[in-house]
């Protein structure tokens, strides 16, 4: 249930409404927008059935939220959310914003293979207009015999490169036991497709003060993706960015099938930013550019692209990685698509601000 308040509501009136709701064992969440302020109710709504909220001073309307996701739902927020990454005073560097007017592009290798290749990748991504670096430290591979990542050594390399290039970094966390170490070194924590419904991991990430990049599971519906986001948000962490990365279908010409329609559907259902991973969706480098263009045209707030200094010799996902030249070319061509979609390509700066609507 959400309560839409009058534009001129006072703090005391807001307090009284929230107390009335919380008296029944529910919690409230406030979203202040330019034009309206919304109080969201979290908990068993049947408890409020007999409470005359509509007649309380300051209340304009009381609406049921029929969706199973509440905090993630569009109705719960007064405006689309802008998630800022790297905005930590203790860590000087650039800030990347997802969900504003600017399209944010994350680039980097599938896995961190060494300090040199990571630094080169970060600089190439940054100089081409990317706003964040990706790099896997812990790799969930389908085969237990495949390269599993460099683990904590890679985390330190990521932190070093963040310091030297100013680029915020995102890396995957696979296990609740890794969260503290990853949060200490990275600016954003990624939940991989295979862990999208690892609910103990999601709940733990809800208690962390770092934004989360949540990738859609291989066989997960949009509703399941939003419920996974709800798990994180229910624990207090509201900074979640969703990522469509292709789903499993009967088609075998591509690694996965990019669900382009998921982007506008998600943008309609949720206030959270939505980005697309064209590398995993297509599975081959040639498809990265066309899928990126489609994503931007469909309304995506950003992209996460695999970039490697020498894709032919990459330890993982070489086939789908762009070379530095390939990434530069993609970024150059992307500008026109961003403009056609009424957006711009995000350049980072120390004071980057999202265009909060």
């Amino acid at each position: 249930m959400i309560i839409i308040t009058r534009a001129n509501i006072t703090d005391a009136e807001l307090d009284a409404i929230r107390e009335r709701i919380e008296q029944h064992g529910m919690r409230t969440h406030l979203s202040r927008g330019v034009e309206r302020t919304i109080i969201g109710c979290i908990g068993d709504e049947s408890l409020l059935a007999e409470v005359p909220l509509r007649s309380m001073p300051g209340v304009e309307d009381v609406l049921p939220v029929t969706k199973p996701y509440k905090l993630a739902s569009r109705e719960f927020a007064a405006a689309p959310s802008v998630v800022r990454v790297g905005d930590d005073p203790s860590r000087p560097g650039r800030v990347a914003a997802f969900g504003g007017r600017a399209i944010a592009v994350i680039g980097g290798p599938c896995s961190v293979e060494g300090p040199e290749m990571l630094r080169e990748s970060a600089e190439a991504v940054r100089d081409a207009g990317g706003v964040m670096l990706r790099g896997g430290a812990f790799k969930p591979r389908t085969s237990p015999y495949a390269f599993q990542g460099l683990g904590s050594t890679a985390l330190k390399m990521l932190a070093d490169v963040r310091r030297s290039t100013g680029m915020p970094v995102v890396t995957e966390v696979m296990d609740p036991r890794q969260i503290d170490a990853v949060a200490e070194h990275a600016d954003m924590l990624q939940v991989g497709a295979r862990n999208m419904q690892n609910f103990s991991l999601l709940s733990e990430l809800g208690r962390v003060k770092r934004p989360v990049l949540l990738k859609r599971g291989l066989s997960a519906t949009i509703k399941e993706l939003l419920m996974a986001a709800e798990y994180i948000m229910a624990q207090g962490n509201r900074d979640v960015v969703l990522c469509e990365r292709g789903i499993r279908t009967f088609e075998q010409a591509t690694r996965n099938t990019l669900d382009v329609a998921a982007v506008p559907v998600l943008k309609r259902e949720t206030h959270l930013p939505v980005i697309v991973d064209p590398s995993h969706a297509g599975g081959v480098a040639d498809l990265v550019a066309p899928l990126s263009f489609a994503a931007i045209a469909a309304g995506a707030d950003g992209l996460i692209v695999e970039v490697h200094p020498d894709p032919a010799n990459a330890l993982s996902d070489g086939d789908q990685s762009l070379s530095f030249e390939g990434f530069r070319s993609l970024m150059t061509r992307l500008g026109a698509f961003a403009e056609a979609a009424g957006r711009s390509l995000g350049a980072t700066s120390g004071s980057a601000t999202g265009a909060a609507a």
Partner: protein, 100 residues
């Protein structure tokens, strides 16, 4: 660096040192107050059982939160953050009442 500058830096470091010291003693007071709050909550738990009242009292909790939010605003603090903190404080007290 001129003599003026280094004197300024020295003064700033002294301020930093003094402020950190003050933070330490404030934290100590906060913990002491939390411990006292928990102890009083235990007493309330016993009294509730004695009076045949339920341990959980959402109406009372909502009242505590509302009062804290109002006091936070008056003190120039972010009332949303203080609300979050107080839900945790209430949780701390509630758990000792229930565990007893």
């Amino acid at each position: 660096m001129t003599a003026d500058h280094s004197a300024q830096a020295e003064a700033a470091l002294q301020t930093l040192h003094r402020c950190r010291h003050e933070i330490e003693s404030l934290d100590r007071e906060l913990i002491t107050l939390l411990a006292r709050r928990v102890a009083v909550s235990k007493e309330i738990g016993v009294a509730k059982r004695g009076a045949g009242l339920p341990t959980l009292d959402p109406a009372r909790e909502a009242e505590v939160i509302r009062r804290a939010a109002g006091m936070a605003r008056d003190a120039g603090l972010n009332d949303e953050k203080v609300r979050d903190i107080f839900w945790h404080v209430i949780g701390l007290s509630r758990s000792v009442q229930v565990d007893e």
